[in-house]
Symmetry: C2
Subunit: 231 residues, 2 copies
DNA sequence: CGCGGCTTTGATGTTCATCAAGTAAAGTGG
DNA sequence: CCACTTTACTTGATGAACATCAAAGCCGCG
């Protein structure tokens, strides 16, 4: 009945179900003492490619993009994701430094725990390890599958794909504010900025979508799906 | 001094250092009782996309390709790897069924352990879990990085890249037998078969490589590297 | 020795990137 | 808050890169 103890905010965190379900209450309590929440304004960089990895991070709220800068200097966008994906990507266990950068596309809250603490927990708790492995595998699978899906499409198919991705997976709404620039879309699906814009204009002319600035509305979802599946 | 015990072949397996280093001798002994080795002739399919996953598999010797068939029916090669990469890829923990197929490019030996056994071991032994997670992460990182590297290059750069990949990473020799068809190369780097051949012919004319059938010799490695880095 | 698959090469057309020039929008400093 | 600068967006015109098609050569295999 020592109810006076400070309640741990982690106990009710949505993320607990995702990978921390194997931790019992005392363990979560301890985790809580080691975590830190950090706020990132839209546009801010959360992890920088090449920087040393010292924390296990995951996205609590917001929207982020994972990307890298190529040797030749341009940007490749690898993924755009919502909670509760990891921020310090998979590399945390395999690499010393970040292979990719992560930045906030919307105001975001990131929760971080010292990596050493996670690793120690890992050694002690196999269930936790397995939960984490499953989650990381799933994220990796998704990234690889999406990359392959995109590669297979032609230009118009890619643009259709990306529109559907935002409408369905990110915003779950036919009408939304595009959180990225046209150039970022281009870097995401691997084509030139001019042609992304051109294709969007074509879609608009054909009445498939409505555009006004950053606001996009998917009018003819079915047609977009057909185009996405190569057309 | 009960030396009469049957010696466990797993104890000295090269693979032990890769992920099983956290297992002590009795644990390896037990693992040994649950493993099974299987031989695959060149061309045989080891895992089939869509098939239920029941074993943890890794490549002991040989060479394999990881690929998938797209909805539209053509093949995308995701990776070509040597031991000791996993065969039942990362998805083993995240998915019920294989997302991709794996086939042998050379005669190969695959070692397999019931997945249930690995999972149980996982829960008991955090160190083992961590070793495995690290290994899986590294493989995933490599696949993603390679895919991004390829995407960034133009046609000739991609062909140069693939030649260097076989010469350096796979065969460690300037001269080697290409284990895949021209079409498979095309599916690997995402271009048409005809253009792969054309580019190879161009390289030959310029004296950068020598070709006779499946045998390829890299003559001017430096030039190939320049071309690979966009040329 | 003839059939079928893989390979090679040339010719053709499409797709897409690049360049350029103009417009809208969004910061920035006075 | 307005003039100024910069950055993002848009559109058209051009050419390069690449896929596709077709036809022929090669090679292994029954």
């Amino acid at each position: 009945m020592n109810e006076k103890k400070k309640p741990c905010s982690c106990a009710n965190c949505d993320f607990r179900d995702v990978v921390f379900s194997y931790l019992n209450d005392p363990a979560v309590e301890e985790l809580c003492d080691h975590k830190e929440e950090q706020f990132f304004r839209k546009g801010e960089v959360i992890n920088h490619q090449g920087e040393k990895i010292s924390n296990f991070k995951y996205l609590k709220s917001g929207l982020v993009k994972l990307y890298r800068r190529t040797p030749s200097g341009d940007e490749q966008v690898i993924a755009i994701t919502r909670p509760f994906e990891f921020v310090s990507n998979m590399s945390i266990f395999s690499e010393d430094r970040y292979q990719y950068s992560v930045s906030a596309l919307e105001d975001s809250v990131v929760c971080m725990v010292k990596l050493d603490f996670i690793k120690a927990l890992f050694l002690k708790n196999g269930g936790f390890a397995m939960g984490l492995l499953t989650k990381i595998s799933r994220i990796n699978d998704k990234i690889i599958a999406q990359t392959l899906d995109i590669r297979q499409k032609n230009l118009v198919g890619r643009v259709a794909f990306v529109l559907l991705y935002f409408a369905h997976d990110i915003y779950r709404s036919q009408i939304f504010e595009m959180p990225v620039s046209r150039k970022e879309i281009a870097d995401y699906i691997g084509m030139s900025t001019a042609n992304v814009i051109r294709t969007l204009s074509d879609f608009k002319k054909e009445g498939i979508i409505r555009i006004s600035g950053k606001t996009i509305e998917v009018v003819d979802k079915e047609k977009l799906e057909i185009i996405s599946k190569h057309g």
